[in-house]
Each structure stands twice: as structure tokens, then as C-alpha cells.
């Protein structure tokens, strides 16, 4: 596999290689070449199984990171292709033509992160969120707590105690914990 990685490096000018395990490597590549590389691995190197497509929101850098996980069943080897795309007007070339189930991953990413994959079938349809009119919920600026407070009612009967305050009430209710100060009117 070392050979393969070296060949890929020359062919695709990879920007980073991380050997995660003996049988698993992360390759980072520019957005323009990512689907080419995925296709090459499928068609010529026996990576016949598409494992998953995932996304990480690097909000500070203004980027989304897409990772295409591929598996070579004969050699029991995994490669994940990573690529960074702009967060603003996020869009990526669709790869649903390579494996049917990529359609589903791309619909999910469209809904959860707002990334568009033009030409992906049913890309505009609801995936699991129905009647959603907030920003995509997996984007890091989405305030989950504020949303849940606005949307759901609090559970009845819940009450919590702060350990330090509770201990004061139980163990030393009269002890002074601040200094009493009398000052002249200024």
C-alpha cells in the first residue's frame, strides 16, 4: 500500500498524508481533484466499498472538511479522502454516480450543514427534518440550547442543587462568607 500512496502522491499532488493505522490512511487533496481521486481508487485500485461521507465544520477557518471513506476489501485497507471547501455558499461536485448510497449522504449534508451537491437527485427535499426553518443544525453557529428552550417545554418537577451552596445551608448556615463593611457616604 505504501507504493500506492506514493503513486497517488505523485499523480494527485496530495497536500497531506496521515498514517492513522497500518491499514488506514488519511489523504488530503484539493477540492478540484477530490472526486477524480475517489473515482480512480474505485475503478483502478479495488476500493469497491464506499464506507461513509462525513463533514467537520471548521468555523474559525471558514471551511467545511469533507471526508470520503473508502475500503479495499481484498487488502482490508481503508483510505479517507479529505478536502476543504468554502463555508460560504458551500458547494461540492456530486459523486452519487459512483455509489448509489452517496445520494443519501449528500442529502444529509445538505440538510445538516447546508452544503449543496448540484445534480444529486432529490437534493432539495427534506431529509429527516420536517418544517425546519432555522439554519442547518450541524453548523456550529446553530445554538442548540437556545433552540431547544424556544421549541420544547421544560420537564415538570426537575430541580437541581449547587453542591457548595447546599453544603453551606446544611453545614455552616451562619458562618460569615463576606466581610461586612460600613463606609461613610461619599
Amino acid at each position: 500500500m505504501k507504493n500506492l500512496i506514493e503513486r497517488l502522491h505523485i499523480k494527485y499532488s496530495l497536500t497531506d498524508i496521515v498514517n492513522q493505522r497500518d491499514n488506514f490512511v488519511y489523504l488530503t487533496i484539493r477540492k478540484e481533484n477530490a472526486i477524480d481521486l475517489v473515482t480512480y481508487l474505485k475503478d483502478y485500485e479495488g476500493f469497491s466499498h464506499f464506507v461513509l461521507l462525513s463533514c467537520v465544520d471548521w468555523i474559525e477557518d471558514g471551511k467545511f472538511q469533507l471526508s470520503y471513506f473508502l475500503n479495499q476489501p481484498n487488502k482490508k485497507f481503508d483510505i479517507a479522502i479529505r478536502t476543504m471547501i468554502d463555508r460560504e455558499n458551500a458547494e461540492m461536485q456530486s459523486s452519487h454516480h459512483l455509489w448509489k448510497h452517496i445520494e443519501t449522504y449528500q442529502r444529509e449534508l445538505r440538510e445538516m450543514y447546508g452544503i449543496n451537491f448540484p445534480k444529486n437527485p432529490r437534493i432539495e427535499e427534506n431529509f429527516i427534518l420536517e418544517g425546519w426553518d432555522e439554519i442547518p443544525p450541524m453548523r456550529r453557529e446553530f445554538d442548540t440550547k437556545r433552540y431547544s428552550e424556544k421549541t420544547f417545554f421544560p420537564r415538570e418537577g426537575r430541580k437541581t442543587y449547587d453542591p457548595a451552596t447546599y453544603m453551606k445551608d446544611k453545614l455552616y448556615p451562619n458562618a460569615p462568607i463576606t466581610a461586612k463593611v460600613n463606609k461613610k457616604d461619599e
Binding site: 457548595a164 447546599y166 453551606k168 460569615p176 462568607i177
Partner: protein, 598 residues
């Protein structure tokens, strides 16, 4: 009115009814993966209710609640986590942050109940089928911690270097070290209750993290006007209950306090602490003894508007902090920094005044609105074994005081100290230094009844004494001091089997056959201290209440049987600086309440 989308969306869902389901049947009965994150388990006896699980929970799924059979006590809030599975997302951050390791997740993931309220329960207390499941998510060990288990090491002088002089050997944290150490605190506040003064410990540690040391100083002074002193020599009961101590080192709370005090220059204290323009209410309070209790009383009374005069028997302020604790642990200029700030507010100290002879307590009662006595435990106690009346047998308290006064103390080449407390270690280490200076070598041995594991001295004192080449040989009972022509030959001891009986009363048992002889030409006794109440006239004593053990009885606010006399500090609570400070604060409140009612 809802939006059109809201109204239509339920119908779009119905569209799925005619399609084949894509899910498979719930595989009930299939065991979960070994590290599956299922329902919570909690070892309630190990859990101390610190609330870190609640604090980290992103979903607010955890409440800390009081439970039957577990009471709040030092080191345990008495609360336990209750999980709401309507909110839990099984992320296991609660397990990963748990400081005691009590909280884990079982591998059970199926649970059916028609009662929604059952899905809120207290793991470990509300019995569940999965309580005994071995598999599930536990914090992986080792090296999987959200915080460092090791405290930042305090820089100190090497034993060989520090043993040559009385220079302070703990050098203090740098900014980077203090912030790193402060970063280990989970802010649970379990420590606050164990501190006799109930200092705002998590708050001042947070101030260090925020690099707001002025705020840190303000928090310290709310409950403790002697932070330079306590930052060095406090018995740090807080650290013994610190939740981080369950799996690693407790936070260095004492050194962090010192860091705050050290970093704030004394000339800025008044401004930082906003102590200008204090009221003068015209009422006068006399305080006997400028030790921790007296200074604390004076400080908090002064803030409230009282004129405070401290009467001190010795030539300088500090009491046992100056005349009992050696300079290498607590340098005099640091005592002065704390004391001078209190004086700068207008508290007055009259030095070299002996109550009972120079002025009587009755006179103080007449001249002042109230009196606080914090006169401390300055008298030595004798073992009273044969030979202990020899002139070369000394009390540790006397020698420590003489060293602080700059007097020449008796010294020989071969010394034995009897006692295993902090005072015994103080005199052992002080005399070792003097031997080093005078003879160029150390030959001193400390022995005590208690075996190594139950020695009353702080562990680090024993370790450091040995580093400084003193011998500590615990677990022996003194039998006789052998003398010849008035000269000491040494100390005969027998093995001490136990110190306390089954009723926890002091009742040592010995193995008389197992003997030892420690050669010495000078012996120091350090087996406890007594109080000198000679300033109380007999007539006066009749109006006071005393306990069976001879202590003056006081109420919760340290008011004695004579209403204008308040008593606190070591003579009430036993020797401990931070207790004295706490007593002084509370007595100040007591005096204020008493005089406001008058």
C-alpha cells in the same frame, strides 16, 4: 397562527406510509459492543456529589439532588446525580469528566416503560437490572483525562542548600505555573465547606485563570485577612477533601492563595480592597493577643467601624505565627505585609503589654465596649518522665520563641526531640539548621508515640525533616531520661503498640520488652501546648463557664459567660491558624451584634 409549513408537514410524513420500510426489526437480545454507551451506573459510595457531571452535560440532562441516607459532610456534598433520559444523548462526557471515577455507562440500551417519569432516575440508588453489567463505557485508563492528575511542582531549594540557613525554601509559583495549576480546578466548591473560614476557593482560583489577581485578593480578604501567611503555612484542610485528590493530586490551593497575595504589592492593597472612608462608630474594642484570631477580629471590626486596640505581650505581632513557626516556612516580612495592611486601616497595637500585671482584664472591660481574648497556647507541656526536670530538657515552644526573638538558644551536638506534631518538626528542623551552622553537621532525632502512619505532623514536614538529615523514628514511648551528674546521657523508650483505646481516648499501650536508647546531651519536649490564663483573676473565673477539659465555654459567636468578653483562637479551638482567623471573623460579627443590641 402557525406557518403553512407547520400545518402541512404532518401530511408529508404520511406520504411514507405506503413505501416499504428501510429499517430492520429491532434486534432485541443482541448484546451491545463491549464499550457501548448505555444507561448510567454510579457507585454512590465513591461519588462525592461534586457536580462535574452536571456542569459538563451539554443537554442539561443531569440534576444534583439530595438523597436518602447520604448527608452533607466534609468532602461530600450529600448530593447525587439524577439523569433525565428525555435529554441524555449518551455522549458520556459525564463519565469522562468524573473526578472520582464513580460514574460509568452500562452496555444496556433497551428499556421499555409506559411511565415516562421512570426515565428520570438516580443511578446507583434507584436499582436497575444493569447495575451489575461489567461491559459498557468507562473512562479509559490511563492517560485519558480532561485535566492533569499531577499538580504543578512547587519549586523549592534543595535540602542541602536550605539546611544551612533559615531562608524561605518554597520559592512560589510563576504566572505560568499558577495558571496551569488553577486550570486543574473543576470549581465544584467541595473544598469551601472544609475550610474553617469557608474561603471562596473556586472563585479565587478562577481569578487566577482569568489573570485578575486584584479580584483574587478581594475574594481572599472577604474571609481571610492573612493571605500571605495562610498561603504559606495553612494546614489546608481544603486540599484533603479536594475532588481532584480522589484520582490524582489535590489542587495546590494553598500555593495558589500565596501566588495571589505575592503578586499584589502592599502599597496597592487599600485601593484594590476599596478600604477608604471607613465609618468610625465611636465604639472601642480591646483585643488581647496579636495572633491570627486577634488580628482577624480587629480587621473585621475595623471594617464595620469600630476602633480596635490590640494588646500584645511580645515585641512584635503575629503570635504563634511569628514566635512558633520558623522563618524558613514563614518569613517575617510576609507576616509584616499582612499585619501592616491591617494597621494601615487604623488598628492600633500596643506591644510588650502584659494583661493581668500591666493592665487588668477588669480595666479593659471598663475602658472598652467589648474585649476579645485570643491569647493562644504558648506554654509547653512536659512528659513528666523521670529526668524531665533536668535543666537541659526544654520545651519546643520556648526555644522557637527565643529563636524568633533573635536570642541565642541552647544547642548541643546530639539532640532528641520528643513529639510528632508540626511543632516537633519545626523545632527539629530549626535546631538541625543551627547545628549545621554551628557544628557543620546535623545530629538530631525526633521520636513520638504515634507510628509513622498516624503521626500528627503534615506528611511533607516529616519528609522534609528527613531530607534535611534529621532522623525521625516514630512509634516509641518515652520511659526515662538518663542523667549522670546533672548531665543528660539519653532517652530510654519502649515500643508503643497503640495510642488510643477502642473509645478513641488517649490511652497508649506499650511493649515493655521492646526497648531502645537514644543517646543525647539535650532533650526537647514537644508533646502539646497549654494555655496561660493567668490574666484571669480568681474572682473573674468564677463568672466564666469552663468545660471539663478546662476550656472557657463560649457560644456560637465566641461570647463567654461575661457578656463583654469574647474568647477565641487556639484556646477555644486548638492550635490552627485558619481556625483562629475564622473564629476572629465570627467573633467580630458577635461583638457587632452584641453592641448593636445594647
Amino acid at each position: 397562527m402557525g406557518k403553512l409549513k407547520d400545518i402541512l408537514s404532518p401530511f408529508t410524513a404520511w406520504g411514507g406510509v405506503i413505501k416499504d420500510p428501510v429499517t430492520i426489526k429491532n434486534p432485541i437480545g443482541r448484546p451491545a459492543a463491549p464499550r457501548y454507551r448505555g444507561f448510567h451506573k454510579n457507585e454512590v459510595d465513591v461519588c462525592i456529589g461534586c457536580g462535574s457531571c452536571e456542569a459538563i452535560c451539554e443537554n442539561e440532562a443531569i440534576d444534583l439532588v439530595p438523597v436518602e441516607g447520604i448527608k452533607a459532610k466534609d468532602g461530600d456534598s450529600g448530593l447525587r446525580p439524577m439523569v433525565d433520559y428525555g435529554r441524555c444523548c449518551w455522549c458520556a462526557l459525564c463519565v469522562d469528566v468524573c473526578t472520582t471515577g464513580s460514574l460509568t455507562l452500562s452496555d444496556e440500551y433497551t428499556w421499555v416503560s409506559e411511565n415516562a417519569d421512570e426515565f428520570r432516575y438516580i443511578p446507583g440508588l434507584d436499582k436497575k437490572d444493569w447495575d451489575k453489567n461489567e461491559n459498557g463505557w468507562k473512562k479509559p485508563e490511563p492517560n485519558y483525562e480532561f485535566y492533569s492528575l499531577d499538580r504543578v511542582k512547587m519549586p523549592e531549594l534543595h535540602a542541602q542548600e536550605r539546611g544551612q540557613s533559615f531562608i524561605e525554601f518554597i520559592t512560589g509559583y510563576s504566572k505560568q505555573q499558577a495558571e496551569l495549576e488553577a486550570d486543574r480546578c473543576v470549581e465544584c466548591g467541595i473544598c469551601t465547606s472544609a475550610c474553617p473560614a469557608h474561603m471562596g476557593i473556586p472563585e479565587y482560583i478562577k481569578a487566577i485563570r482569568n489573570n485578575d489577581l486584584e479580584e483574587g485578593l478581594r475574594i481572599l480578604y472577604e474571609t481571610n485577612p492573612l493571605p500571605e501567611i495562610c498561603g504559606r503555612i495553612c494546614t489546608h484542610k481544603c486540599e484533603s477533601v479536594c475532588t481532584m485528590g480522589h484520582k490524582g493530586d489535590p489542587i495546590s490551593i494553598r500555593w495558589l492563595k500565596r501566588y495571589i497575595a505575592d503578586q499584589n504589592p502592599s502599597e496597592k492593597y487599600k485601593e484594590i480592597l476599596n478600604a477608604e472612608n471607613l465609618v468610625d462608630n465611636g465604639k472601642k474594642i480591646a483585643i488581647i493577643g496579636a495572633g491570627p484570631a486577634g488580628l482577624s477580629t480587629a480587621y473585621y471590626l475595623k471594617l464595620m467601624g469600630y476602633q480596635c486596640t490590640i494588646f500584645e505581650k511580645l515585641p512584635e505581632a503575629g503570635g504563634m505565627m511569628r514566635y512558633g513557626i520558623p522563618e524558613y516556612r514563614l518569613p517575617y516580612d510576609q507576616i509584616d505585609k499582612d499585619v501592616n495592611y491591617i494597621l494601615s486601616l487604623g488598628v492600633e497595637i500596643k506591644y510588650n503589654v502584659n494583661i493581668g500585671t500591666d493592665i487588668t482584664l477588669e480595666d479593659l472591660g471598663k475602658d472598652f465596649d467589648a474585649v476579645f481574648a485570643g491569647t493562644g497556647l504558648h506554654l509547653g507541656r512536659s512528659t513528666r518522665v523521670p529526668g524531665s526536670d533536668n535543666k537541659n530538657v526544654y520545651f519546643a515552644t520556648d526555644l522557637l520563641r527565643e529563636i524568633s526573638l533573635g536570642q541565642e538558644v541552647p544547642l548541643t551536638e546530639k539532640i532528641v526531640v520528643i513529639g510528632g506534631g508540626n511543632v516537633a518538626m519545626d523545632i527539629t528542623r530549626s535546631l538541625a539548621r543551627l547545628q549545621n551552622i554551628k557544628y557543620g553537621k546535623v545530629d538530631i532525632l525526633a521520636t513520638c508515640l504515634e507510628s509513622e502512619d498516624i503521626m500528627p505532623a503534615d506528611r511533607e514536614e516529616v519528609v522534609e525533616a528527613r531530607e534535611e538529615l534529621a532522623i525521625v523514628d516514630p512509634g516509641w514511648g518515652p520511659k526515662e531520661i538518663e542523667t549522670e551528674n546533672e548531665k543528660i546521657k539519653g532517652l530510654h523508650v519502649v515500643k508503643c503498640l497503640s495510642v488510643f483505646d477502642e473509645n478513641k481516648a488517649f490511652n497508649p499501650k506499650f511493649d515493655e520488652e521492646n526497648k531502645k536508647f537514644f543517646v543525647a546531651d539535650m532533650i526537647v519536649e514537644s508533646i502539646g501546648q497549654g494555655m496561660d490564663l493567668s490574666y484571669l483573676s480568681d474572682e473573674f473565673k468564677e463568672n466564666l463557664r469552663f468545660s471539663n477539659r478546662g476550656r472557657i465555654e463560649v457560644d456560637d459567636y465566641f461570647q463567654s459567660g461575661i457578656d463583654w468578653l469574647f474568647v477565641g483562637g487556639d484556646i477555644i479551638q486548638g492550635s490552627d491558624v485558619i481556625h483562629g482567623i475564622a473564629n476572629g471573623h465570627k467573633a467580630a460579627i458577635g461583638i457587632d451584634n452584641f453592641l448593636m443590641k445594647k
